[in-house]
Amino acid sequence: MGDSQYSFSLTTFSPSGKLVQIEHALTAVGSGQTSLGIKASNGVVIATEKKLPSILVDESSVHKIQSLTPNIGVVYSGMGPDFRVLVRKSRKQAEQYHRLYKEPIPVTQLVRETAAVMQEFTQSGGVRPFGVSLLVAGYDDKGPQLYQVDPSGSYFSWKASAMGKNVSNAKTFLEKRYVEEMELDDAVHTAILTLKEGFEGQISEKNIEIGIIGEKKEFRQVALFIFPLCVSA
């Protein structure tokens, strides 16, 4: 980073001590499609709306939920292309960690390294912050974990969280519904209901994506034939 004419940072402090570019990045995230995550006692579920700009788009080619390692998955709210770049970098970092230490990367480590990348882009020359917030779901030796990473590079561990358009309603809904000893199946059900709350139009298995990771520590996308059973209520 730091081409000749842009060796200065575009993200500079305002007189009130704020980094305006990061605030704007968070606004970009806030206008992105809703995504949420719930940590259960025996796993984690992450879910997102998948509203495509037109019915002509081949929805099977769009993957908003990606896996970073066999036991860590991620979803985003905000700008898709920025997400792709971060996923690529994170996968490479996870693989490098594995090469060096011959153990699968712990969730906290991967979150930390991804956050460090996002922070770099707030303090380097000629670049802008990423316009995405990530929800990282993983299951390692410390159990199930859910982290949110913001464009500023700060990260938080959540029991349940939401981001994007419908964040306040979704979070209120989750606060009411969240129970400490929730199992993974209940968590999936709750996730779908939370998405349904703020959904414009008819919710179906074609316009949402759900990823889960259970005790077997394998992140995978849920085949949505269970969907009709969950959304009869």
Binding site: S67, R88, R91, K92, E95, Q96, H98, R99
Partner: protein, 273 residues
């Protein structure tokens, strides 16, 4: 030479700076320590359902056997394995690196790795280093286009074959293959032939020995038979064990427990965030 505090390594390729120094030292009689090499017999063959790879388990440092049971069949991908002969560090590092690259490639494409992909990544790397990375490999696997078996030489050339052998025991093993190989072998016939070939290397080549490892790869399934055959067990083990008579008398025993040097104060101030 850069002036920055961080030493930036030169981009790409092997740094040959120390080769002149090594030559000069060798002329003065100071030789490089000998590498740990895998003397080795490694083989591979294609049978009716896939690929079988085999290897011995002896690693040598010059005339000394430094590892009697090392693993020469390396994992590359769930459907691809690679046997390595030559300098042990080189084979392990190169297969590890390409295995990592294949994993990233699988994430990006969402597909199973192909054997030719592993082949190309390996040969590119070895050619780049002009033979200084001394790894001779037998690469085998089954992908969507079928079973494949390749040999890769340290300078970067490759062959595609129905049956292949590499290493110091390759001639002994090839003699077995040439006389007994035929197309459409069953799994048991294939494993038996591979075992025969490796045993031929174990017993007739000094650089190969100890046990036989076998790996069978078929479509969607693999079996790694570590130490499939142990033709060299330790035969004469003293059942009574060895007892060495005591030479030094104990006159006095005094135990001094270590005292704590640091006082631990519970509940101090928390660090400011």
């Amino acid at each position: 030479m850069s002036n920055s505090a961080i030493d930036v390594p030169s981009r790409g390729g092997f740094s040959f700076d120390l080769c002149r120094r090594n030559d000069m030292l060798a002329k003065k009689g100071v030789n490089l320590p000998s590498f740990r090499k895998t003397g080795t017999t490694i083989v591979g063959l294609i049978f009716q359902d896939g690929v079988i790879l085999g290897a011995d388990t002896r690693a040598t440092e010059g005339p000394i056997v430094c590892d009697k049971n090392c693993e020469k069949i390396h994992y590359m991908a769930p459907n691809i394995y690679c046997c390595g002969a030559g300098t042990a560090a080189d084979t392990e590092a190169v297969t590890d690196m390409v295995s990592s690259q294949l994993q990233l490639h699988r994430y990006h494409t969402g597909r199973e790795s192909r054997v030719v992909t592993a082949l190309t990544l390996l040969k590119k790397h070895l050619f780049n280093y002009q033979g200084y990375v001394q790894a001779a490999l037998v690469l085998g696997g089954v992908d969507c286009t079928g079973p494949h078996l390749h040999t890769i030489y340290p300078h970067g050339s490759t062959d595609t074959l129905p049956f292949a052998t590499m290493g110091s025991g390759s001639l002994a093993a090839m003699a077995m293959f040439e006389s007994k190989y035929k197309e459409g072998l069953t799994k048991d016939e294939g494993i038996q032939l591979v075992v025969d070939a490796i045993c031929s290397g174990i017993f007739n080549d000094l650089g190969s020995g100890s046990n036989v490892d076998v790996c069978v790869i078929t479509k969607g399934h693999k079996e790694y038979l570590r130490n499939h055959l142990l033709p060299n067990p330790r035969t004469f083990v003293n059942a009574k064990g060895y007892s060495f008579p005591k030479k030094t008398e104990v006159l006095l025993t005094k135990i001094t427990p270590l005292r704590e040097r640091v006082e631990v104060v519970e509940g101090g101030d928390a660090m400011e965030e």
